[in-house]
Symmetry: C2
Subunit: 331 residues, 2 copies
DNA sequence: CTGTTAGCGCATTCAC
DNA sequence: GTGAATGCGCTAACAG
């Protein structure tokens, strides 16, 4: 119950509390014997430094702010787990904010920056523009961005190698059977991942001799609903079922699959479906997709967040996960 | 860039910084005019109080520690979202720890308690015994437990009304078609939810004239693997396919469904399957289950965590979600 | 109502 | 090596 302070330990150990501070922080200029004794006493008394006091004195909170949007909370579970893990390993903690809206996110980030609430920030998919990002980075907080590459000063970025992922998917598609006509369901306009995936997809297909016409690219927003809507609109337009549906993320693919199923269209017999991300649900619907190494990304994010090297960039390659929605290679 | 302090504001506003503190904290004993001016100046200067200093002076961190196990991280996404939301609304923040193991969790909790890292704690499914829980609650931190009821002093508990959930499930099962033989796949031994659900299930079935023999209760641990294993062992034992499989949580049900599918056993034609929780994946496999109001629970958790009323108990009723795994009522 | 004065618990110069 | 003295930025109790 009694909160043990540095002072208490000092008294009990028969030294001044300055010495205790040094001993406990493992500094070189302390008599080894004294240090050992102090350490023992502190241990016996169950001493734990007050984070608030340390933070105030040292101007450092040991807190990493992690901000992500509510809509896709499930997707970030593994990432959060990895971040928390690595943070603990480094003696830091995670202050999580699930932002209900992009505006909320901005407000929180701003408050974090000026209020010195955290030491560094990890953000993702919040629709933040460079001007804003920079304005907060300039406040001195190292910032790690997980949704797109950046060259801003003081901000690091960890991104997915979307092209590599798409190529694996297309390779698999053509390897497994002949595909002449594929349609893709896109993601939110203006977001890096959505656009890069679309481009990569288009290129990869073209290399295999499959052209993507404008009508073959359906609008989407990375949600299941958009996937289902895409199928519905396609059917309503009376167009022939394509050989494959390529969704730019798994959530969309799930929507596509569900809509297809409701229409009695069999997968993979009548058409194929691919996703991107390999979320938890994917395996239960047999979705063929590419797995994004969230664990590695999370760990790297923390390292960049706490690292002295305030700036860095990494690209993570996804890995193909073959399940049933494209059929199995007969090769 | 320049960190604005109370002192700066005071100087600029021409008052002492004690007054600024009072004005900004909206205390009654300040001249309305002065307060307004101070507030305006603070605003202009972009003043933000230093959390560390406030925490130290006020002995309060405005932080709620949320600790949950990594294994089921996905399940907590919505809960975390709700908690974060309500916390923000109350001017608090969430310090999230995804504990890799129960031992990690204990260590963190202990450190939180003695190090005054957070003001209160929300914990769930960490395999913590009462002795431990009490030892940390006694340290003065309000504790909200989300996995089982408790009568410990200083700790609140929010639990699911498992009996209500099971009854709805069983009701649905018998309403939709005749069921004579049902088998259930259990959860981790010794956990409240697992045991209460099993009891409730047994009772609910008995009331409808369906008895559960010992062989009809398969061991499990709330994972997909356990669900699949249960089916496998059942089949290996050469026993006849039951009319229904009741899994005590959704993850288990997913495993059951998958194993069944691999064996070519159709659902719901050949047998029915039920779950519990209504996780995100459930809808994509058409799982009939009960939905746990995670949003409400999360919000309530925060309220208990920050509330002056340090102790409280609530029970949340799940809601039946009918999909396909039991067939549709022909009524 | 407002200015002054102690702490809050610790890190970190300085002297000794 | 170790003790004493400052300061981190703010709250709160105290005088005026």
């Amino acid at each position: 119950m009694g909160k043990v302070t540095l002072f208490d330990v000092a008294e009990r150990a028969g030294v001044s509390y300055g010495t205790v501070s040094r001993a406990l922080n493992g500094r070189w200029d302390v008599n080894a014997e004294t240090a050992a004794r102090v350490r023992r006493v502190a241990d016996e008394m169950g001493y734990q430094p007050s984070h608030a006091a340390v933070a105030l004195a040292r101007q450092r909170t040991d807190l990493i702010g992690v901000v992500f949007p509510a809509v896709t909370a499930g997707f970030y579970a593994e990432l959060l787990s990895a971040i928390s893990d690595e943070a603990l390993r480094m003696g830091k903690h995670i202050l999580t904010v699930v932002a209900a809206s992009d505006d909320d996110a901005r407000e929180q980030l701003l408050s974090f920056a000026t209020g010195r609430r955290v030491d560094s920030l990890v953000v993702m998919n919040l629709g933040l523009d460079d001007v804003f990002i920079e304005s907060i980075a300039r406040r001195g907080l190292p910032l790690v961005q997980l949704d797109r590459p950046t060259t801003l000063k003081g901000v690091s970025s960890l991104v997915i190698d979307n092209a590599a992922g798409m190529e694996q998917l297309v390779d698999h598609l053509v390897a497994v059977r002949r595909h002449r006509h594929v349609v893709v369901v896109g993601g939110p306009h203006g977001t890096y991942d959505a656009e890069e995936r679309l481009d990569a997809c288009r290129n990869a297909l073209l290399e295999r001799g499959i052209a993507l016409s404008d009508e073959d690219v359906l609008p989407g927003d990375f949600t299941e609903r958009a996937g289902a809507a895409a199928v519905a609109s396609w059917l309503k337009a009376g167009r022939a079922m394509p050989d494959a549906w390529m969704a730019l993320n798994d959530a969309t693919a799930l929507g596509v699959l569900q809509a297809l199923k409701e229409q009695g269209i069999r997968v993979p017999e009548d058409t194929a479906v691919t996703g991107f991300d390999d979320i938890y649900t994917a395996r239960f619907v047999g979705l063929t997709t590419v797995e994004v190494p969230l664990g590695e990304i999370g760990a790297a994010a923390v390292r960049f967040a706490v690292g002295e090297r305030v700036q860095g960039h990494m690209r993570f390659a996804p890995r193909l996960v073959v399940r049933e929605t494209c059929g199995r290679s007969s090769a």
